[in-house]
């Protein structure tokens, strides 16, 4: 769907993007992750043809990026904004027309979305008369009203209350199911971790990691488990199955985090433990994207 090759974007005294390449498959949910100022917004602006890269190229459906692609992309900028004094219905139709819809289909789409989001009564209202959460809803509709194939959402959940965030999240998933490709860009990595199929990590204008989320996670698995149990302490020193990384006292139980030794299965460890204590639960400790990111950044800094 989207292929980015060796993009370089240079502003006078600072390089916003340094040789960034990545690929987004059709129909997936893609997370563009990285701290503030990493270059995410610069990259998004290039995809949206707001600015042009100094080097490199962008392809959509294997075509080099050109103005005809504008209608295929829906963009929710990080800095939300609408005309404050313009009536919402009129404004939606205007924005849809700018995206290339005819007046008639703009009106149809507006009616569809206003009904779906339960905002029919806002048609004649002005943006300044709406609450912040309502404005966000309107803004979201403006992003998707022209049925884009590629939806780019910059910090999508910031500013939403939990209920509306859930509404929007479900809408996004529904659009994804209908075939739209979604790109989430955010510095709050935990907020989209469960949603993304693939991710790319960007730090200091360079891509430091990308791929399918599952693969990345698997490659970071370290045979580490957290076990919650009750039944008192036991001597952990004399076992051949695992090393203890940490122990922790919970309200009514204990928790121990272990790392299995080479060629030891988790069942072996359990068999060793079962006679000693009452086991409540066992979870594999998989690093979060955040952990992976921090590890990566550290690794780069050390190298």
């Amino acid at each position: 769907m989207l292929r980015i090759e060796n993009i370089v974007k240079q502003y006078a005294d600072h390089r916003a993007l340094d040789n960034v390449s990545l690929e987004v498959e059709r129909g997936c949910i893609f997370g563009l992750l990285g701290p503030n100022g990493a270059g995410k917004t610069s990259l998004i602006r290039i995809i949206n043809q707001i600015t042009a890269p100094d080097e490199g190229s962008v392809y959509i459906n294997n075509e080099r990026l050109n103005p005809s692609h504008i209608t295929k992309i829906g963009y929710l900028p990080e800095e939300r904004g609408l005309y404050k004094k313009m009536e919402i219905g009129e404004q939606m139709i205007y924005l849809a027309q700018l995206k290339g819809l005819s007046k008639k289909s703009a009106l149809e789409q507006c009616n569809y979305w206003f009904e779906k989001m339960e905002m029919q009564s806002w048609w004649k209202k002005k943006v300044e008369d709406l609450s912040k959460g309502m404005q966000q809803k309107v803004q979201f509709v403006a992003t998707v009203i022209h049925q884009p194939e590629l939806i780019i959402l910059d910090e999508p959940f910031s500013g939403f209350d939990p209920i509306n965030a859930e509404v929007i999240k479900n809408e996004i998933l529904e659009l994804n199911k209908k075939g739209a490709t979604i790109i989430f860009s955010t510095h709050r990595m935990e907020s989209v971790e469960q949603l993304c199929d693939s991710i790319a990590l960007i730090n200091k204008s360079k891509k430091i990691l990308d791929g399918r989320l599952k693969d990345i996670r698997n490659s970071y698995r370290s045979n580490t488990f957290a076990i919650e149990y009750c039944g008192g302490r036991f001597d952990v020193a004399e076992n051949t199955h695992f090393d203890v990384i940490s122990t922790r006292k919970l309200d009514e139980a204990e928790e121990i985090t272990i790392k299995l030794k080479e060629n030891v299965k988790v069942n072996d460890a359990l068999q060793y433990l079962i006679p000693l204590v009452q086991i409540n639960q066992l979870t594999e400790v998989v690093p979060t994207i955040n952990d992976i990111f921090i590890e990566q950044v550290k690794g780069i800094n050390h190298a």
Binding site: N48, P77, L98
Partner: protein
């Protein structure tokens, strides 16, 4: 193109449908006419205040000849000067003392507690001058009736030599219209230029701009805004012209002392109107592009000051020059250059036009103006495309140059 049209349409209708537009359109000419009428009325009557002048006329023959007007009443008094002064103080009235020796000394006294209004002084002076003059004429044996009956009233019948032969012209009316056109251009460049600027600042601060320019090119947005607001200006002018010509038709028949319509017919109204529209449009496009660049560079209106100064300076300079220098020296070298340089020509040329400007100068000036606004639009667009995406930074001139140099 379709998208630029959409933007023009939005900019145009969102403004024309506003109440303030209607109010401006109908109220401004009414206010203007009302003001003129009021000024005329007030200067004529001196307002609603009536000034009472108690007259001590020693000769007794001058007072009956003084005529009362709406704002000025002459009353005889039997008091002597000293007493009258006391009463004047109490009643806040005026005392006019006409001594017997007036014909010799040519002096009278007016005393009051308050300062006398200008019209009271001139009115009394004029009346006394007339009265005394008639008295002296009579004493010299001249027949007043003969004198009165001889009243030549010479008018200049001014003909201009043109290609089509001699033409009647009413220069006063031509001046008046051209000068008001120059003033109107000056005002409107500011009014509509700053509307462009404010519109852009609004889009920038409300952050809608990023949504819009993900659909259209920044240049399209800027151009759409400039053209849309320009059309609003033209609509307003059109309505003003229609309204004021209607109003002149009505008022000139009833109120105005001389034949305005007749005067209007003698001047090349169509020509002045056309040049006005051309220079307004050219000047507007030139300056509004600069205003647009300023709007894109700042985050709010208070920051515009440092950039506004160099924009307003040439306008202000020409405006002052127009009515102090160009009017008196319409064909001097300086006037010529001021009417050629695109930054000053919209005002300077309008002032020169009633004095007659050679065709080649007009063509050259208009061509330069067109080249000028293409140039400023190009410069402004390069600053604008970067500026609208820059938030929260105080911009300097160096920054603007840097933006201008950025590649696409």
């Amino acid at each position: 193109m379709r998208k630029t049209l959409l933007i023009i349409k939005r900019e145009y209708f969102s403004r024309v449908r506003k109440k303030s537009f209607l109010i401006m359109t109908f109220l401004v000419p009414l206010l203007f006419m009302g003001m003129t009428a009021l000024v005329a009325y007030l200067t004529h009557t001196g307002g609603d205040a009536v000034t009472v002048v108690n007259v001590i006329d020693e000769s007794g023959e001058l007072l009956p000849q003084l005529k009362n007007s709406k704002g000025l009443i002459f009353l005889p008094t039997s008091e002597n000067l000293g007493q009258a002064k006391v009463t004047a103080r109490k009643k806040e009235s005026f005392v006019l003392y006409i001594p017997d020796s007036i014909t010799a000394t040519q002096k009278v006294q007016l005393v009051s507690e308050k300062k006398a209004p200008m019209y009271v002084l001139t009115d009394i002076e004029n009346q006394l001058n007339n009265v005394v003059r008639f008295k002296l004429l009579k004493e010299a044996g001249i027949d007043i009736n003969t004198l009165e009956s001889i009243k030549p009233n010479i008018k200049i019948e001014y003909k201009e030599l043109t290609d089509e032969g001699e033409k009647n012209t009413n220069t006063t009316a031509a001046y008046a219209i051209s000068f008001s056109a120059a003033i109107l251009i000056y005002l409107c460049l500011f009014i509509y230029g700053s509307q462009v600027m404010r519109g852009i600042i609004e889009e920038k601060t409300s952050r809608i701009v990023e949504v819009v320019i993900s659909s259209v090119k920044p240049f399209q947005l800027m151009l759409g805004k400039i053209l849309g607001i320009g059309l609003v200006g033209l609509t307003q002018f059109l309505l003003w012209i229609i309204l004021s010509s209607l109003a002149t038709k009505i008022t000139s028949n009833n109120l105005l002392p001389y034949n305005v319509l007749g005067a209007l017919q003698t001047i090349p109204l169509g020509f002045i109107l056309t040049t006005f529209l051309i220079y307004f449009l050219g000047g507007y496009l030139l300056y509004s592009a600069l205003f647009a660049a300023v709007g894109s560079a700042v985050d709010n209106e208070t920051e515009t000051q440092q950039f506004m100064f160099p924009i307003t300076l040439p306008l202000l300079f020409t405006y002052i020059m127009a009515f102090s220098f160009i009017v008196n020296n319409p064909n001097s070298t300086l006037s010529f250059w001021l009417s050629m340089i695109p930054f000053t020509s919209p005002i300077a040329m309008m002032v020169r036009i009633p004095f007659g400007v050679p065709d080649w100068q007009l063509y050259l000036s208009v061509s330069l103006l067109i080249a000028g606004f293409i140039f400023t639009t190009w410069v402004a667009a390069r600053i604008y495309r970067v500026g609208i995406l820059m938030y929260g930074k105080k911009t300097s001139y160096r920054e603007l140059v840097k933006w201008f140099m950025y590649k696409e």
